[in-house]
């Protein structure tokens, strides 16, 4: 066989595989399966009692949100953060 043919075949194969690769590599626009929830850490200033609830609008860190069920001390919002729950990846 002519070496030229081999060259042409090799080149074509390379080009086709390159094209295919760039086509399949396109980023998938799959939405991130993620659930988000804003949580509040509430602490008692006296006894260290701590609980987590969901965030309510107009709440802020340092806000007095009631009395401690254990000792009757003030309950203060100590922190607010976003918890992400990553859902299991769906594979087809």
């Amino acid at each position: 066989m002519e070496p030229l043919y081999i060259l042409v075949i090799a080149l074509t194969a390379f080009l086709i595989s390159f094209l295919l690769m760039s086509l399949t590599r396109r980023p998938s626009n799959k939405p991130n399966e993620e659930q988000k929830k804003i949580l509040e850490v509430i602490k008692c200033v006296n006894c260290g009692f701590e609980e987590k609830t969901s965030f309510k609008a107009d709440d802020y860190v340092g806000k007095n949100v009631g009395k401690c069920p254990k000792c009757g001390g003030d309950l203060i919002v100590a922190g607010i953060y976003l918890e992400k729950y990553q859902q299991a990846e769906m594979k087809v």
């Binding site: 030229l4 804003i38 200033v45 609008a57 802020y60 860190v61 340092g62 922190g79 953060y81 976003l82």
Partner: protein, 364 residues
């Protein structure tokens, strides 16, 4: 002539011709230009979407705050209220000139909001100011990208278009972060940049605050027989306050009888670092363009007070959106780091100033 000979000579001609085209014409560059510009065009379309979406969300949010004409309020703000940097080839008194310009601008924005909406609380005013600023940034990003795209097309500059096509993905992510920030500021929960204020708020066990300079408060507290002065922006509105000016005034009030100044701030992480990592060092931890930071350094130097820095690391996007669990864990770690510094580097009876630098949204 047999068939093989025929084919191979055609092929040879094709190869020679195509090598000529590749090497001695601009056709490959033209094709690349066409491809790169289509990439940029697609992104510009998405940036427009982000800008409009941000505008929509802000209008809805401002309506909830009982703003009567949110659309005009935003339209009249965007593009205006720029600040021209002071002359820096003659640096004498540049800090005071810069501070003057910054204050003038802040005052102008404040007056703009108050004139349009009479009788609003400081907290609501600050929220509206942030909304306007975020919309302004989104519009600006969009405009800059369009500017370079149009320049590339105008001058057929394929190098410019290629650079833009490579950079536009990062720019898009940045714009997306600002778009998400609009939502986060609307929710009103602390953002990542609030790490500094949250750390120091945890150290202030009293809730008695004193507004030492505008929008900045001091809590007096104690920890293991040391007096602790906690400085942070006045919450829970989205403001950064004036930490440098506050520190200057506080230290002067106390005649410099301070054993240590500890600054706590959010810092931009490197790509290889985890969000919520805590690190400490020396210096003023504050991402300020000058006036506040230099005020801290000057007052610490004047009285020879050691200046410590503690940072919580996060990405750009995390800094301007609702604080994540990783960063909250970092905050708890940073509280321990600050306590350790106080324990190991000061004596009982000393006075220590702890400054939480950052946006105090959702943290009173």
């Amino acid at each position: 002539m047999d068939g093989t000979q025929d084919w191979s000579s055609i092929l040879l001609a094709v190869i020679i011709l195509s090598s000529f085209v590749l090497n001695f014409t601009d056709i490959p560059q033209k094709m690349q230009f066409w491809r790169f510009s289509s990439v940029v065009r697609r992104r510009i379309y998405e940036l427009n979407e982000l800008e409009n979406d941000g505008r929509r969300k802000s209008i809805k949010y401002l309506k909830d705050l009982n703003v009567p004409n949110p659309k005009e309020l935003i339209e009249n703000y965007v593009d205006n209220f720029f600040m021209i940097s002071p002359v820096d080839i003659e640096p004498t008194d540049i800090i005071s000139r810069l501070r003057h310009l910054l204050r003038t601008r802040d005052e102008a924005v404040k007056r703009y909001v108050i004139e349009n909406l009479k009788n609003i609380s400081d907290e609501v005013r600050q929220k509206i100011e942030v909304m306007l600023e975020l919309n302004s940034i989104l519009t600006f990003i969009n405009k800059v990208v369009k500017h370079y795209y149009n320049l590339g097309v105008k001058y057929n500059d394929w190098v410019l278009m290629m650079r833009l096509a490579l950079d536009v993905n990062q720019i898009y992510l940045l714009a997306k972060a600002y778009n998400n920030a609009i939502e986060a500021f609307g929710v009103g929960a602390p953002i990542g940049d609030g790490a500094g204020p949250l750390v120091v708020r945890t150290l202030a066990n009293s809730s008695e605050e004193r507004e030492i300079v505008p929008e900045t408060v001091v809590y007096e507290s104690s920890f293991e027989n040391r007096r602790i002065y906690v400085v942070k922006a006045k919450g829970p509105g989205p403001t950064v306050g004036r930490p440098g000016e506050a520190l200057e005034k506080l230290v002067n009030e106390l005649d410099g009888k301070i054993a240590r100044i500890i600054t706590v701030d959010a810092a931009l992480k490197l790509e290889s670092e985890r969000s919520g990592e805590v690190a400490f060092g020396v210096g003023a931890a504050i991402g300020d363009i000058g006036p506040e930071k230099i005020a801290m350094e000057r007052i610490a130097t004047k009285y020879s007070i050691p200046l410590d820095a503690v940072v919580v690391k996060m990405s750009n996007e995390e800094a301007i959106t609702t604080m994540t669990k990783e960063i909250y864990d970092g905050v708890l770690k940073a509280v321990d780091v600050v306590k350790n510094i106080i324990r190991s580097k000061t004596k009982e009876g000393d006075a220590v100033v702890v400054i939480g630098v950052g946006n105090t949204l959702g943290i009173k």
